[in-house]
């Protein structure tokens, strides 16, 4: 007695590939309209504040780039690992470590910096993130411990390490014992790329990471191995691909990129060390990676979309007094529809009960 059912398509529908995003946006707008209307807000103004207002100024576009930068950097690395079935859930911790190591240099050389300080911090940030990711890599390769658990657990360890440092060695000696470091000096701050915005060198790194990620996956033998291992591990084994090497490589790479993201936050928009460097970028990046279909260019777009939904939520709070919880629900609907409508690429919707002809064909 089913009224609606899903029927597998023989192959992915090309029309749906383009139609589903449109459908997702239409569904989001329609349900957002209803949601805002039901809550007593002007739905058109609310949707405008959410999606359009943040894009209407140079500063707004800049903020979008600033917010997307750590998401994209983390997600690019994660996606390469995910393609090889290496499930690094620890980008948050690796990001934190990158901030700790890179930012630590800015504090260690406070008052005696030079042109060399920033490059050193960048290298240290990437090394810090990679080192943190090396722990789950070692445990996986040596003891076959699930990197999902080990990398996730290390996030909390990293946060405690940061808290310890912020209440001790990293604390501003003239800061009334508050857990914040000194403001970084000019030598330790990433240069701005666009005047009048907060877009910094880190955004360029994110773009480079997108390009390099694409090149690695599409044009190199390592990228080929990653894909084969991800799709059919046994075939990869017969082909003699070294899976351990790929585990090490993908974890170190994603760790380094997450570390770079962390360094980019403290040496970029924050400009100092504090205990709340990331509002969960390492976790949100997992969503961004899948939203972008694990493809570098897709991730770039997904990063911007995610950033827009955050910034739009704030803009709606300011412009209309929309409660934070409602903007959160709306953000959730957007992601839900984007992912849910994908089912239409591989399935078609049929109304009514299964027809006999289908049954015969199946038999």
């Amino acid at each position: 007695m089913t009224l609606l059912r899903l029927e597998p398509r023989g192959e992915a529908s090309r029309a749906m590939v383009y139609a589903t995003p449109l459908l997702a946006v239409a569904l989001t707008l329609a349900s957002g309209f209803l949601l805002f209307w039901a809550m007593g807000f002007d739905p058109v103004k609310a949707l405008h504040a959410f999606f359009i207002a943040p894009l209407m100024s140079l500063r707004g576009l800049g903020e979008l780039a600033v917010k997307a930068t750590p998401l994209v950097l983390c997600a690019i690395g994660l996606a390469i690992g995910f393609r090889a079935n290496v499930w690094n859930i620890g980008a948050e911790g690796q990001l934190t470590l990158g901030a700790i190591t890179g930012g630590g240099l800015a504090l260690a050389f406070y008052g005696e910096g030079g042109w060399w300080l920033l490059p050193l911090m960048i290298v240290a940030g990437m090394a810090g993130g990679a080192l943190w990711a090396a722990i789950p890599a070692f445990l996986r390769v040596r003891f076959n411990a699930s990197e999902i658990l080990t990398s996730l657990m290390l996030n909390y360890v990293a946060l405690h390490l940061l808290n310890y440092l912020m209440h001790g060695p990293y604390r501003d000696p003239d800061g009334f014992a508050f857990p914040e470091s000194r403001l970084f000096e000019a030598d330790a701050v990433l240069p701005l790329l666009v005047a009048g915005t907060r877009v910094h060198l880190g955004s360029l790194f994110a773009l480079l990471a997108v390009a390099a990620g694409w090149f690695l996956m599409a044009r190199t033998f390592i990228g080929f191995q990653i894909k084969v291992i991800g799709l059919t591990p046994t075939a990869a084994g017969y082909a003699g691909f070294n899976q351990k090497k790929i585990i090490w490589l993908t974890l170190l790479l994603s760790g380094a990129l997450a570390g770079l993201a962390g360094l980019g936050e403290v040496a970029g928009p924050i400009g100092q060390m504090n205990p709340t460097i990331s509002p969960g970028y390492g976790y949100t990046a997992i969503i961004v990676a899948f939203l972008g279909r694990l493809h570098p260019v897709g991730i770039l777009l997904a990063g911007f979309l995610m950033a827009l939904s955050f910034i739009g939520g704030e803009a709606a709070q300011i412009a209309l007094g929309l409660p934070k919880a409602i903007t959160g629900v709306f953000q959730g609907m957007l992601l839900f529809f984007l992912l849910a409508t994908d089912v239409l690429i591989r399935y078609r919707v049929r109304f009514g009960a299964k027809r006999a002809v289908v049954g015969r064909a199946a038999a």
């Binding site: 995003p21 359009i52 917010k67 014992a177 936050e265 970029g268 990331s278 897709g298």
Partner: protein
Amino acid sequence: MNRRTMGKALMGLATGAAMLALGVGAAGAQEKMKVGFVYVGPISDHGYSYQHDQGRLAVEKELGDKVTTTFVENVPEGADAERVIEQLASSGHKLIFTTSFGFMNPTLKVAQRHPDVKFEHATGYKRSANVATYSARFYEARTVIGQIAGKMTKSNIIGYIGSFPIPEVVSGINAFTIAMREVNPKAEVRVVWVNSWYDPGKEAEAAKALIDQGADVISLHTDSPAAIQVAQERGLWVFGQSSDMTRFGPKAHLTAIVDDWREYYVNRVKAALDGSWKSQDTWGGFKDHMLFLAPYNPALPADVVAAAEKTRTDIMEGKRHSFQGPVKDQSGKVVIAEGKQATDEQILKMDWYVEGVQGKVPK
């Protein structure tokens, strides 16, 4: 895959733009002064951010014909804070209250770009021509509840849930302990740090851990009522924080330290309206109406209430100081000499425990 995702995002933007461009009306001319508020927690925390929002509502009520107010809640103290404050400043808000310590440097950065906008930062120490600071002498109220705790405990173990080991919290623990030991020299204070201002889960865990260690009175310096509920379940005593939390545990809730920003906010908005606003530092206590105590639990014996009231009025009238020497640190060394009182600077930089507190200040 690449084209699919790109198509999705582009179509999303295009549809959004088309649908919303129609709805963009001309914004009405804004005659009233706009006042903005930035909160670190949700206004539904029933604690710190909630009380600041009560202050905002008082401004609306008293001056609603001259001002409109805007608030943004749940703003992380990282790179996002500057964007939110900037958005308020550049969208016509002329007076902006940033109500958490971590907003200090972002507030100053934005203030520098908007010399015509006035800023008020809570609990910080950096000021400029258009950035004033304000805070409450929370420790005064801790003296009163410390005294009550000393009289009510049977196990002589008091549990204390701390947010971050910053001077505001450490001086509160010390003021509490000094008053407690004055009436009950055998009692001691055990502190658990949750490293968050608002984390109901962690706060409840901390309360349970402290109770399991024998604590029969809980005091907190975090913003959620989670610990109140735990104390109610376990049949123990607890003090509310920031706002009256009686309804979360009517049997257990002895009283609460209530922050009251209403008078201050109304006065400062009035000053901004009539042009008398100046950058200054305000640190108010009981006598400035920035603090009061929630109604005492009827279960409190009359003599305990009478003593608490005497302490409160003595502090208000300047007859009693929370840090009246001699005050000894944990090693027994006299830090504040007999006949002296702690200076404001000593309180603002406090990073050591007095005798009677277990454990060490995290460093």
